[in-house]
Symmetry: C2
Subunit: 358 residues, 2 copies
DNA sequence: AGCGTGATTGCATACGGATGCAAAAGCCCT
DNA sequence: AGGGCTTTTGCATCCGTATGCAATCACGCT
């Protein structure tokens, strides 16, 4: 079965001479592009066969495929994804819209998404949304690149933008964000309400009497949902509602300010870890309060710093890996047309990590 | 409201249906793609004109361009980048290869790069390299997507991989990494040697007698260069060389361990901030040493956490914005063929930030 | 040996735009 | 009014693959 390489090759001089890694690449144009046609001519077959050799499940004899793949390897041929995308009307590109990369939670999300997408055969086209802006601005560009799907994380997408996207028959997914209002988009997020409840229960179990909640950005579903869960527990038990402090944004500095303004509280639940870390520092270094002796602090996300000895922050861990896996699975289902028309909304449970700050 | 597209909006009915009687060609296909040809037919002009209307500097009458752009706006036409890339032999995509996103320094780099590239008309194709792996694995894929250039950050690229890339006539840029050995690649990085020197001088000026250096990954140029600069100052002054501790990797935990193993030192220079933060916590919480009274600590990078009250870490700030700007400028120069064949290597100075830990 | 079938392969064309070249318009001047 | 030019347009082709369809091939069976 030894794949015979046509010895007659093309040119005379450099012939096949084996692919010597030491020397510069020969026989290949300086432009570097070996096309399927060139390979085909070389092997005396049609360009179609080259294409089929690289298409899993295509109609092609095993021997032929082996011969082509070997030759491709030798000449350094790889299908041009751009051309393939045009022809196949599918780019294998997924647009990833991100904001708030300054919150360490998101780089982790980004990394896992990137890996998962790569593993699933997609490439990641990254868009960064400047703080405070909506993701809508990225949509036209994403459309021009004909991405197969869009994942919007940590940024908001207006209903109009969402509708527009859907109108194109493309797939969009909100990650860690719920659609605002009747947005007909898929979404995968953490069970923020449940997480808020766990936080409330933990503080109550700890015997805290004067709890408080520090809200993040008011226009984020994460903050609102965590708040709702937190307050619900107190309401259900007939307890006075916790105090509520508005941090306004998800930043260390905002958390710091919020804690300084928190007044007399003995249990703080912050909308996320970055806020909580700022708050923790403010309590200890700014107000001289002892944590957890005098005040309990709970955050949300479980960013790496939460586990550092300087903080030992109790928090609600988001199941990022599972959320990413679910997202990619959903995208694949959508792209293969297996998912129904109704939006898929999934919530994964948060887990309470009890650390020293509680 | 979304732009509805009445079939006879502009022309007197597309009823003429011009070309193909077999398949109806509605102005807007269900897929959502309005093509240049459709728009052209609609306006009674040639497809070429549509293309030119969107090409700055193309030969087209201002009035014609305005008419086309208006119609495009109304119908939601946008040039298909995939098709344009194929035709123009240029994708406007830049591959960004990243690793170590767990080091907060890199998300910031990523964000700035993404923004700068977007502003320069490029899109970012992101590749994530799992820790410990070389960036080489991403190259074939990047080649298949015909990216215009590659930026490799916080990951290493083998000489072979580099040479291969160059052979294609493509442009590659090492960011914050020097080429290993005779790598003929462009590189833009911080002046790590100079930064190391500044650290040494700062510790000496502080009167520290038993300095130590905590190295990061041995295979990174950043760690080696910072170390070289640090040691050079002592050597030049005829002082005993500082103690050297091998952290092995750039992580909080490694820094923590290194500080615990640091023995009797009164001045620690860590290869980067993440290590330094781990070290700081180990010194304070693990060994009960007071910083800066008993020990001075200096890091490198200036990640956001370094400024937090819990740390107040003195560090060497990398001029990220300037480095990114220089990188994008270089890429543009390369792509427009303005840069010479010799690799461009640039070093931007680090700035010492004196904070409480010094 | 002839035929039926399923497996392979080649052909031709589509995907959506960009662009060299030549035809068609304008413009200015004598 | 006609000639010499400069703009504008349209035409035809190309970019590199994928794929429907028809042509071939390889075999097993009667």
């Amino acid at each position: 079965m030894a794949a015979r390489t046509p010895p007659e090759a093309a040119g005379a001089g450099t012939a096949s001479a084996g692919t010597d890694p030491g020397s510069d690449a020969p026989a290949v144009l300086p432009g570097g592009a070996v096309t399927a046609r060139a390979l085909a001519r070389r092997l005396g077959v049609s360009q179609s066969m080259i294409s089929r050799a690289f298409s899993p499940g295509a109609s092609i004899a095993p021997a032929m495929r082996a011969r082509i793949l070997a030759a491709a390897e030798a000449l350094g041929y790889r299908p041009n994804f751009i051309a393939a995308s045009l022809s196949r009307r599918r780019s294998s590109l997924v647009g990833l819209v991100m904001g708030e990369l300054s919150n360490p939670f998101y780089p982790a999300v980004l990394e896992q998404f990137s890996q998962a997408l790569q593993a699933a055969g997609f490439q990641t086209l990254l868009f960064t949304v400047p703080p405070g802006q909506e993701a809508d601005a990225a949509l036209p560009l994403l459309r021009q690149y004909h991405v197969d799907a869009v994942v919007v994380t940590s940024a908001s997408l207006s209903s109009a933008g969402a509708a527009h996207w859907r109108g194109d028959g493309r797939s969009a997914l909100l990650f860690n964000r719920a659609g605002d209002g009747p947005t007909p988009l898929d979404s995968i997020a953490c069970d923020n309400v449940g997480g808020g409840r766990l936080a409330a229960e933990a503080l109550l179990a700890r015997g805290r009497q004067r709890p408080a909640f520090v809200a993040g950005r008011a226009d984020t579903s994460t903050s609102r949902e965590r708040e709702a869960g937190f307050f619900a527990v107190f309401a259900e038990r007939g307890l006075a509602p916790p105090r509520r402090i508005e941090a306004g944004e998800y930043s260390y500095a905002a958390g710091h300010r919020a804690a300084l303004a928190a007044g007399d509280t003995d249990g703080l639940f912050f909308a996320n870890d970055i806020l909580a870390l700022g708050g923790l520092d403010a309590l200890r270094h700014g107000r001289g309060r002892r944590v957890p002796e005098e005040v309990s602090v709970i955050g949300f996300d479980d960013i790496p710093m939460a586990a550092w000895p300087a903080y030992e922050l109790a928090t609600l861990r988001q199941p990022v890996a599972a959320m990413v896996a679910a997202s990619v699975a959903l995208l694949r289902a959508r792209l293969s047309g297996q998912a129904g028309p109704e939006p898929h909304r999934q919530r994964l449970p948060a887990e309470l990590l009890r650390r020293a700050s509680l």
